[in-house]
Symmetry: C2
Subunit: 343 residues, 2 copies
Amino acid sequence: MATIKDIANRLGIAVSTVSKGLNGASDISDDMRQLVLDTAVEMGYASKKLKAGSTRKVCILIENMDYENIDQFGYEIIMGFKLSAARRHWEVCVIPADLNMQTAEKYDTYMLKNGFSGAFLLGFSLHDDWVKQLNKTTVPTVLLDNYIPVNPHVGYVGTDSVEGISIAVEHLCSLGHKKIAFLNGSKNSMVSDERYQAFLQSMEGQGLIPEENLMEYGYYVPDCAKYHVPTFLENGATAILCASDLIASGVIAELNKRGLHVPKDISVVGFDDLPLAAQLTPPLTTIRQDRTDLGKSAFLLLDGLIHNVSVSKMLLRAKFIKRASTAAAATDTQKSPQPQRLK
Amino acid sequence: MATIKDIANRLGIAVSTVSKGLNGASDISDDMRQLVLDTAVEMGYASKKLKAGSTRKVCILIENMDYENIDQFGYEIIMGFKLSAARRHWEVCVIPADLNMQTAEKYDTYMLKNGFSGAFLLGFSLHDDWVKQLNKTTVPTVLLDNYIPVNPHVGYVGTDSVEGISIAVEHLCSLGHKKIAFLNGSKNSMVSDERYQAFLQSMEGQGLIPEENLMEYGYYVPDCAKYHVPTFLENGATAILCASDLIASGVIAELNKRGLHVPKDISVVGFDDLPLAAQLTPPLTTIRQDRTDLGKSAFLLLDGLIHNVSVSKMLLRAKFIKRASTAAAATDTQKSPQPQRLK
């Protein structure tokens, strides 16, 4: 473990300058402070304060995810995390992360400079600069829904998508649906891949053939519905399983616009169980991710990593919430859904 | 939630008799006590003591697993669990489970009768009576290496076998091995299935073809080596990956008996990193399962389930431990291993 003296020797500067750099004193240049911090990280320096656990401070870094009110996905996750952290007397800083932060400074340097013992990263994707650095970080780090191989300092927390998707498919099959469309989340994401595989397996498990033209990616925006719903209808879908409640809300709006009634003409299932799910017309059948528990589990995992328990993965149960947006598939004798052509 | 009175009404007996049954009083018959307990469980009765959390008592039920000294797989798992439990002031009872216990009484009844708020099950297999009842249990329960679908009261803890196997295969490939044999654990177990799939994927990921006659099940006993090592050798294996250190110890003994030298003639990799792994000749290259951390994580998970955080899965990192039982594969110009025929 490198000491302040080692850093001073490496840089050929005074120990007092290193100390100023590490403690954020204002009487050295920004460049010198950055050099000291980067060298400290590179040499594996850990401050006495962090080592002794006297500063109990972690951060939630958040990007591409709304969290400011209870209707948004991140809100309860952050609440749950803070709740568990408070119980163990940890301070939590919630910090919106942007690309500038990530290009300005290395991840480990940022953490050392700010005295964080660990971090929970929300909404990051695998091509983010800081996520790319996680293969080698020594900072205890928890990701939501993203997996970093091998590094014992990084773990991930998420909801068991495989179980969630399979429960939804079973439910739709039990209602007689055979032509089930799947409007997935973002392409090139671990969770979307898992859900896609789970959808294929569940359909096959039910003796159904998943059809290429009934599977699309919706990038978690309601607006995607207008591109994909028409194709699904042309290909005979009687039910649409969506990767989020927001997507599902867009799908229902698009179906209504075309004169189709949910669930009489076509069934719709969401994912997440955001508060809005119960407010939609009709109230949405969905797969619940317990966001408060996700936050609590993320803190538990981070606390474990800080104490050298290398958990790589912690998955929560998905819970099926039956509401009014799903019903029996129209039988062959009934008229199959005939959408109005939009002008 | 059923009350003592509800149970008395259902059975047509006095409240005082129900109370005696629930509290283990000796002045009612065994049959009556059992009837009271079974009815209480069936009606979803939870005693006030358990509800109020005033008894903080959980159990470790253990079957088919040695745990009495540090050389055995279960020892550190139990230590880790007890350590975490003690820190939160929970009492832990370690109870060897046998088939009689399981046929004598339902799982939930046993837990209620003994005042356990939850249980950690070690070494059970999916065909055990009590495990079959876990689909419907309301007792917070953690399993090692076994997965129960859907039930939010049951979770599992284990080591990331997929990562472990893939690290081992990569290591052997980097040493030039192409004919890698895999001596797996017990058939029809979730972990063995996962490891088998991981082996196939890792081999294919390295551009190698996994061969049917180089993959067998060894049921975690060293003695299995004498059945499978000869076949592996006949089929040209230059390395044997084993699902446990115990299997690997048997494999090394069998190879030695046939005049083959590990690792010059053939490389051997274990799994677990039991204390014996470092004591073997040669010291065994293996994949470490951190058993203390498994125990700690199991307690964390159980604590979560008791507080209604439905974690379904918690996986620990596998860690590669390089010792002396692996070396470069003999090149084509060198003599390939020629085992002596045993009389």
